[in-house]
Structures are given as C-alpha cells and as structure tokens.
C-alpha cells in the first residue's frame, strides 16, 4: 500500500522531470529566504527562460553540508552548468573542484572568486561598505555613537564590515557602542528585538545604526518606530531592498541605502553564462555591478 503511494508520486515527478532536453542549469544557494538572494534568483530564472535553459533551484537553508551534497548530486546528474548564489565557493571547494573536473562550468552570483569558478558577478562589497560608512559619518558630522549589525559568515557582507573598520580608523570620533551578530534566517525580527533592547539600555546615546544589509535596518526601523518614534537616530543599510526604499520615501529613520543592482548582477551572470556555454571564456573572472546611494533627496522627497 505504502509502496503504491510512493510509486505514484515518484512516477509523476519522474515523468515531469525527464521530459526536458534543453540545457539544464542548477541554481544552488543556502540563503533563498533572503529577499535579495531570491530577487537575483528570480531575475536569473527569467533570463534563463529567455535563453531556453531549464533551471532547477535548490535551497539548503543555511546548511553548507547539505549544499555540498546537492552539488554532488547535480554533478552526478551531469547538469549543464552550476550557478551558486550568495555562497562563497571556497566553503565547498572540493565539490566545486569535482564539478570543474567533470567539465561543468561553475559561476557565482554575489559570491567570490575561487579555483574552478569561471565567473563571479558581484558588487564590490568593500566599496559598498565604504560608501555606507562615509554617508553615515557625513550625516553625523564625523562625531557620534553608532550601533553595528553585521554577519561575518557571508563573504560579501564580511567585506562591508572590513570597510567599516577602515572608515572608523579615519574617524576617531565615531564610536561603536554596541554590535550584534545577526541571526539568519530571520534577520528583521532579530534586529527588531535587539534594537528594542538597545533602545532601553542605551537609547539616548545612539546616534546612528550601521546595518550591513537592509534587512537589519528594517528591523531597527520597526523597533524605533514602535518604542522611540521621536528619536533622532538615523539608520542606513546596503542593498536597495524595495522595502527599505519605501521606508526612505516615507521619511522613516532609514536615511539611506547603498543599492546593489541585483537585477544587473543576475543579468550580467546570465550573459556571461551564455558566452561560457558557447565556449568563450570571460575576459575577467569577476564582474562588478554598479552601486549607487539612495537617499530621500535622490528619491525626490523632502522630509521635515
């Protein structure tokens, strides 16, 4: 009886999955729950459809061991190409090497360069971090107390943190009075809770919140809006997350986000992959998508 249930279910799946003859592209990530990762995957999938590729998205929810196994699986399935999104290929180097050895091209979006990776399309995260820090410090008049929300596990996000450290060296009057390592998945809620606590303990000392990406910034905004709406705390993040942009427009405490152009990144990746599949090697192993600062002014809003 039980076997029958399996048989039906699997037969159905098998039929639907084996019909394709187009190029199979395996899109693998551990962080699909992140808005921006998801956005890149969506744009990439759309581009892939135009190109006539067959994409499968696998998300292992933060589990790198699983991710390694799934890469082994798609290598076994002789997929046409592997696209790693928001993952540092160095953390799964053995599997990337195996893919390369099997002649499967591996590209990364928002990842890093590594042996066996043909192309990495990303923003220069250090640059993003520098832009964010400079913007925030400028707003504070190069003097004040900030809170830092960071996440060192993500290679790109870690670069932003390093950029902040660099900027802090040039601005000795800016003090980090609290920092918090974000919980992922669930950074918005985590940031909200942390900010609530910080508002209670150091609410009057905080001048600004430095968020390594927009989701913590949104969480911080939610907390301030609820607990201390009149405070002068300013928040800034990175990514150009649509929700963050809305909040900037609405004159919230979020005063800026350094936008990565994810759509452009995914587009560049798809273009790159087309060339790779056609047999041409990209000129550079790493492509940078442009970044720009979004503020109320740039959105044409005047806030009180």
């Amino acid at each position: 009886m039980r076997a029958g249930i399996f048989a039906l279910a699997l037969a159905g799946l098998a039929a639907s999955a084996t019909a394709a003859s187009a190029t199979d592209i395996a899109v693998l990530t551990a962080f699909q729950s992140s808005v921006t990762t998801n956005q890149m995957i969506n744009v990439f999938e759309a581009k892939a459809k135009e190109a006539g590729w067959n994409t499968t998205v696998v998300d292992t929810r933060g589990d790198m061991g699983q991710l390694a196994s799934r890469i082994e699986d798609v290598v076994a399935a002789k997929t046409g190409a592997i696209v790693l999104v928001s993952v540092d290929p160095k953390l799964i180097q053995d599997q990337v090497n195996a893919a390369a050895a099997a002649g499967i091209p591996v590209i990364a979006i928002d990842g890093a360069t590594a042996p066996g990776v043909v192309l990495n399309v990303t923003s220069d995260n250090f640059e993003l971090g520098t832009k964010l820090s400079d913007f925030l410090f400028e707003k504070l008049g190069h003097k004040g107390n900030i809170v830092k929300y960071y996440y060192s596990a993500h290679p790109g996000v870690h670069q932003r943190e390093l950029a902040l450290d660099e900027a802090l060296k040039k601005n000795p009057d800016i003090k980090v009075i609290a920092d918090h390592y974000m919980v992922v998945p669930g950074p918005i809620d985590d940031a909200r809770k942390t900010t609530e606590d910080l508002l209670k303990s150091k609410g009057d000392e905080i001048d600004a919140i430095w968020a390594a990406w927009d989701e913590p910034a949104i969480g911080a905004q939610l907390a301030i809006e609820a607990d201390k709406p009149d405070s002068k705390i300013i928040i800034a993040g990175i990514d150009g997350n649509p929700q963050a942009i809305e909040l900037i427009k609405a004159c919230s405490h979020i005063k800026g986000t350094v936008s990565q152009d994810f759509d452009a990144m995914a587009g560049l990746a798809a273009d790159g992959l087309t060339k790779i599949l056609a047999g041409t090697k990209p000129e550079k192993p790493e492509l940078y998508a442009p970044a720009k600062l979004i503020t109320p002014e740039s959105l044409g809003v005047t806030c009180p």
Binding site: M1, R2, A3, I5, F6, A7, A9, L10, A11, L13, A14, A15, A17, T18, A20, D24, A26, N54, T56, V57, V58, D59, T60, R61, G62, D63, M64, G65, Q66, A68, S69, R70, E72, D73, V74, A76, A77, K78, D88, K90, L91, I92, Q93, D94, Y151, S152, A153, H158, Y181
Partner: protein, 309 residues
C-alpha cells in the same frame, strides 16, 4: 500484505531506488551515484545512530545539532592554537562526551524531562559555539591530513562511508549483542521493572546520552573535514533529519523499537530522496514535502498495521 506491513519501509526504500533508477538511469542509477549516496547519508546516519541510543531509553536528545556545530568550530579553533591532529580530535570528542554526560545526568539524576534538559543545554552549547567562533565561518589552519578524514576514497569506497560502516557495526553490536544494550532496551521498555531488578538505570542513561553526544561530535569533525570549513550553525540541519531517520527506522522492522539497522534504513530513505529528487531537478521545497509525507505515511501505516497484528 503481512509482509508489506512488516517490512514495508524496507520495500519502500527499494522501490524508491528502483523508480529513481528507471527515471534517471544514467545519473541516479549509476554505481558511482549510489556509492555517493552512502557518503551523503554518512554524517546524518552517525548522528541518528547516537539519537537511536537515547530513543531506546525512551528519551530525546535535542542537543545533537548543537554538538555537531560545536565539534566543527572547536576543532578549527583548536587547530588555530597549534595543537596536533590527535590532540584536537581527542579534545573535541572528550568535550562532546562530557556535554552528553551532563545532559544525561540532568535527566537521570534530577528527572528533568529530556526534551527540556537537552533543549536548554543545547542552547547553552550553541551560545558557547558562537562565542568561540565570533559567529564567523572558520576555515583557516585546517591541516590537509584532517581534511582527508572526511573526503576521498579508500579502495573505491568514500571515506565517510567507511566511518559510517565502522560506527554502525560497533553500535549495532553494542546495542544488540551486549548486556549494556539489553539494559538500555529494558530501561526504555519498563523503567520501574529495570529499577526493581537492580539495573544501574542512572549510570546507563548517562552513558547513553554521552555516547549520543560523542557520535554527534564525531559527525561534526567529519563534516568539518568534508567541507574544509566550520560554520557555527553547521549542524542545524541534523536534528530533525536524525529523528526522522530514527522514526522511519522504527517502522522498518517488526518490533517497532529503535534499532541501528532501522535507523540506517531511515537515513538511507532520506538521503536517497534528496539525491534522487535533486538529480531529477525537483525544486527543494517539494523535496521537503515529499520527505515529510513519507515519514507520516510510514508512521500511519505502522499504526493501522498494528490492528492486524
């Protein structure tokens, strides 16, 4: 029909493999891939074997994933201090065994429900792990010799598979063929009776929890060796899957008790489904739906099967 009921879970595993093999003869149905699956299930199965020991007692250890993460981070951190390979492995395993003993002691001595004791203590371990790692993924300073413990092949068999084989044989013998194993089943079956006949109930419980954590520690070391890096929540995925494997395994044989062969079947089902569905290009959310549905189906059919026994 009786055969189906008794060995249905085993048959289901065979059937899943056959169906995948037919659907994808050149990718799934290859010897290389099947060997690869044994490697992919190895770490999960080692953690699940530990969980089996505790489940035999009728208890839960929810700290297994925390111990896996801890072992990974601790090993890389210890390599950073310049300690040698044997010393690092010994320290990590001893620390894991100790963590398990503490959980076991809380449960056996103070009758704290194991669900709560291990959940709480697992959180403590998790915090400790974050503290040691500063939250970052650690990957520098791992000696290549250590990495070889979790990758590569010996005589055509992946190294993690060999680890699993060794662990499974040892713990199968321990649980099925020694007095200690009999005692664990007796305690799990009727704790009051075990006490009345003078079994060392508390000591055995502490040992079982310690071994469970020890195996989680071993899995953490192997995971780190396999990936060449350690993430502070790297073991997070193992908790639910390990217990799913044990529960599936309980349905695999007649007695309906946790057992090592059963747990291996359970872990294999989970690994085969992930591997096969990925190869067939099924999105990961659907894999979750399938895995959950299969566990539910197995347990339910077991339940209805009881009436006919």
């Amino acid at each position: 029909m009786i055969l189906l009921r008794r060995y249905g879970t085993l048959l289901a595993l065979a059937l899943i493999i056959v169906i995948f093999a037919i659907a994808s003869p050149h990718a799934f149905g290859t010897v290389a891939n099947l060997v690869n699956i044994t490697q992919q299930m190895a770490l999960l199965a080692i953690v699940a074997i530990g969980a089996t020991l505790v489940m035999v007692l009728g208890e839960f250890d929810l700290s297994v994933s925390s111990v896996v993460s801890w072992a990974g981070i601790a090993s890389v951190a210890l390599f950073g201090t310049g300690l040698g390979l044997p010393a690092v492995i010994a320290l990590v395993l001893v620390s894991s065994l100790l963590m398990g003993s503490i959980s076991g002691f809380l449960v056996a001595r103070f009758s704290v429900p194991s669900f709560i004791a291990t959940l709480a203590f697992g959180t403590v371990i998790g915090g400790f792990t974050f503290w040691v790692s500063n939250g970052a993924t650690l990957f520098s300073g791992i000696p290549p010799a250590f990495r070889d413990l979790g990758r590569g092949m010996i005589l055509g068999i992946p190294v993690p598979t060999l680890w699993l084989a060794g662990v499974a044989v040892i713990f199968w013998l321990l649980l099925d063929q020694t007095e200690f194993g009999r005692r664990l089943y007796a305690i799990g079956g009727n704790r009051e009776a075990a006490r009345l006949v003078g079994l060392p109930v508390r000591r055995d419980m502490v040992v079982a929890f310690a071994l469970c954590a020890g195996l989680s520690g071993l899995a953490g070391l192997l995971l780190t060796a396999r990936l060449g890096s350690a993430h502070p929540t790297g073991g997070g995925g193992y908790l639910l899957q390990a217990y799913a494997a044990v529960f599936l395994g309980m349905t695999a044989f007649r007695e309906g008790e946790p057992s090592i062969p059963g747990t291996l079947v359970g872990a294999a089902i989970i690994a085969v489904i992930s591997n096969g569905l990925t190869i067939l290009g099924v999105p990961s959310f659907l894999q979750d739906v399938m895995t959950g549905a299969i566990i539910l189906a197995a347990v339910l059919i077991r339940h209805f099967g009881r009436d006919g026994d």
